[in-house]
């Protein structure tokens, strides 16, 4: 092996590491997400000197303050793939100061939350999930701005995913949620990353398994999918299960959860405040 690389990122860690390994047989790639480090920190730290290069998503450093990343000589900053085009209704909510876990991980519906805050019932909220209402929320107009934002974030670390981006959404949505890409974008990101590191690529159609297919999946609302050229559906999935829940169950469970908590403790993340307020004005 010419070099040993360590990949440390969020839930994209394993998929990206697999994709790097598949395209660079001369490298040895190891994946280590924060949870894996925390499970055996001492053992993990003992291995650090064995890596020639660390590919790290910067926010991970604070998640693993005890990690002896300084033992690795070369650090490369990793971006992550985030994209809101398919899931413009997906927001995060604080419960006091912590992200609130709902029926589908930390993902919440801005419409459902706005309806709850407005004092509506779950069944009244369900009636808002229509194409015309999504249009009024601006949900059908966000693709281009999100694409430009994503490409700019990769440009900033000199990883050029532009040649790949256009093919990502051709047959299916390329995201399972705001921050869970399918494996194809991660495979292309791995290509661009290897190129940025001056490495030769060995691309083929034998791409690694799509490990985030079994993670939290937020529904692509049918009218939004249709506007983006992909099949949508109200299919929400929790991590580790292939049993989907529909919109009704999802919204009802969200409402039950919100009602069980002190109203003053719940607030959207700052980037979603205006969106929730806007939706409330439409109700």
């Amino acid at each position: 092996m010419s070099e040993h690389w360590l990949v440390m990122s969020n839930c994209q860690t394993v998929g990206l590491a697999n994709c790097l390994q598949a395209q660079a047989p001369d490298l040895a790639i190891t994946a280590m997400d924060p949870g894996k480090f925390k499970a055996h920190p001492w053992l993990a730290n003992r291995r650090m000197r064995g890596f020639d290069r660390l590919l790290v998503y910067p926010a991970i450093r604070q998640e693993v303050p005890k990690a002896r990343l300084d033992r690795i000589g070369i650090h490369v900053e990793l971006p992550i793939i985030t994209f809101r085009g398919y899931h413009p209704d997906l927001i995060y909510i604080f419960n006091r100061d912590k992200p609130l876990t709902g029926p589908i991980s930390h993902y919440h519906s801005a419409i459902a939350f706005a309806c709850f805050q407005q004092g509506m019932s779950a069944s009244e909220a369900l009636a808002c999930f229509t194409g015309p209402f999504f249009e009024r929320c601006g949900y059908l107009d966000i693709w281009s701005a999100e694409r430009d934002r994503l490409l700019a974030e990769f440009d900033a670390v000199h990883i050029d995913i532009r040649p790949y981006f256009r093919s990502w959404g051709r047959r299916t949505a390329f995201m399972y949620s705001y921050n869970h890409p399918r494996i194809e974008p991660l495979y292309d990101m791995a290509s661009a990353l290897l190129q940025s590191q001056g490495r030769a690529l060995r691309r083929s159609d034998l791409i690694p398994h799509d490990n985030l297919a079994n993670s939290a999946i937020f529904a692509i609302y049918p009218e939004i999918g249709e506007a983006l050229g992909v099949q949508g559906g109200y299919e929400f999935r929790s991590p580790g299960t292939y049993r989907a829940i529909g919109l009704t169950e999802y919204v009802e469970r969200c409402f039950a959860l919100y009602a069980s908590l002190p109203a003053g403790d719940l607030r959207p993340f700052p980037e979603f405040m205006r969106q929730v307020e806007h939706i409330r004005t439409l109700l």
Partner: protein, 355 residues
């Protein structure tokens, strides 16, 4: 020494005139080939539609968006399913699919008394009767030949009102192949014997219209239509739905290419001749290599919902006064999303992701 500036006719042309910039560089669902719409439609204007089945998508979408879809032949008293089954509201009048321009011209002429009322009826195997010029408008058929004739007369009055009242007439050109009468050249809506009647080679013949015949009929129709309704505008489209079958002794693929090519040329000739006629490229949106067949159903013939949605997005954006949008929304791209981006998924997700 200064090098001379390269000068050629393609310098400084807009992006939409280059494949690389307007097709290769654009995500498939964002491609929009409409460049200079000749008119836009307001919500107060009456829109009539006719043509092949693709025209039905247009009528549904404009109705849903609050535009004034003109229906002059209707039975609002019927429950919605019965109304649709009886062919009401599918198009502006109950003419069924008008696949060829020759049919369109013949309908117009008959409605305005320039052609004798067609009074024949064909019997179906179940004993019911159909109108040979619109055989599939009503699955129930008609009880007697007389009922067919009476309904046809009623229908033609509705057609006349439609042409007189329409502010915009949208016509989707569908086919060049047809079956017609050897006696008077009437074009039937389907081959004799398929729905009703009996095929008789002495009475019926196959026609595959040429560019001259197709455009000739379209040109005559446009001139006559403009004479009775000079304020109306016409929007032409070519159906992206391929031929179901060809009577030519060759592959249906080749016949389809011929047919669609003729229709596209006829539409082009019409917009060159008339400033009040425009062409909407739904055919290009659905069939282009950039779509890669994604817009067809598994039979590779019927257009799927994604394809229809794409064509209709382009239509609404370019041909409606409000661009198909009611108001601006408030969803912003996440330029500042450090809080969301840095949320590390909970352990259950990381666990699942490691599998």
């Amino acid at each position: 020494m200064h090098r001379p500036l390269l000068r050629h006719p393609y310098r400084d042309l807009p992006s939409y005139r280059f494949w690389k910039r307007s097709v290769s560089a654009v995500e498939a669902h964002l491609i929009d080939p409409v460049t200079h719409p000749r008119f836009t439609i307001g919500k107060e204007e009456a829109i009539a539609t006719a043509g092949s089945c693709f025209a039905q998508h247009i009528s549904r979408r404009i109705s849903r968006s609050g535009y004034r879809y003109l229906v002059t032949e209707d039975r609002p008293d019927l429950p919605a399913d019965q109304r649709a089954a009886a062919g009401y509201g599918v198009f502006s009048a109950r003419f069924g699919n008008i696949y060829t321009t020759v049919q369109l011209l013949q309908l117009f002429e008959e409605a305005f008394g320039e052609r004798e009322l067609y009074a024949e009826a064909w019997q179906r195997p179940d004993g019911r009767f159909v109108d040979p010029l619109r055989q599939q408008i009503d699955g129930a058929g008609f009880a007697t030949p007389d009922c067919v004739t009476q309904d046809r007369a009623r229908h033609l009055r509705s057609v006349r009102r439609m042409f007189e009242q329409a502010d915009v007439f949208i016509y989707t050109l569908g086919l060049t192949e047809a079956w017609q009468s050897r006696i008077d050249g009437r074009v039937f809506s389907a081959a004799p014997g398929v729905v009703g009647g009996l095929f008789d080679p002495d009475l019926h013949e196959f026609a595959n219209f040429s560019v001259d015949e197709t455009y000739g009929a379209l040109r005559d129709f446009l001139v006559k239509f403009h004479a009775v309704n000079s304020r109306a505008k016409v929007l032409l489209t070519v159906s992206p739905v391929p031929l179901m079958a060809t009577y030519e002794d060759r592959s249906v693929l080749s016949s389809n290419t011929y047919s669609k090519s003729v229709l596209r040329i006829a539409a082009e000739m019409a917009i060159r001749d008339h400033a009040w006629v425009d062409y909407f490229p739904s055919f290009e949106i659905i069939t282009s290599s950039s779509a890669g067949g994604l817009y067809y159903q598994t039979d590779h013939r019927e257009v799927n919902a994604l394809g229809v949605a794409h064509a209709m997005r382009c239509f609404m954006r370019n041909y409606t006064k409000d661009g198909g949008r009611g108001e601006d929304g408030a969803v912003a791209p996440l330029y500042e999303h450090a809080t969301s981006r840095d949320v590390v998924c909970d352990e259950s997700i990381l666990d699942a992701a490691r599998a």
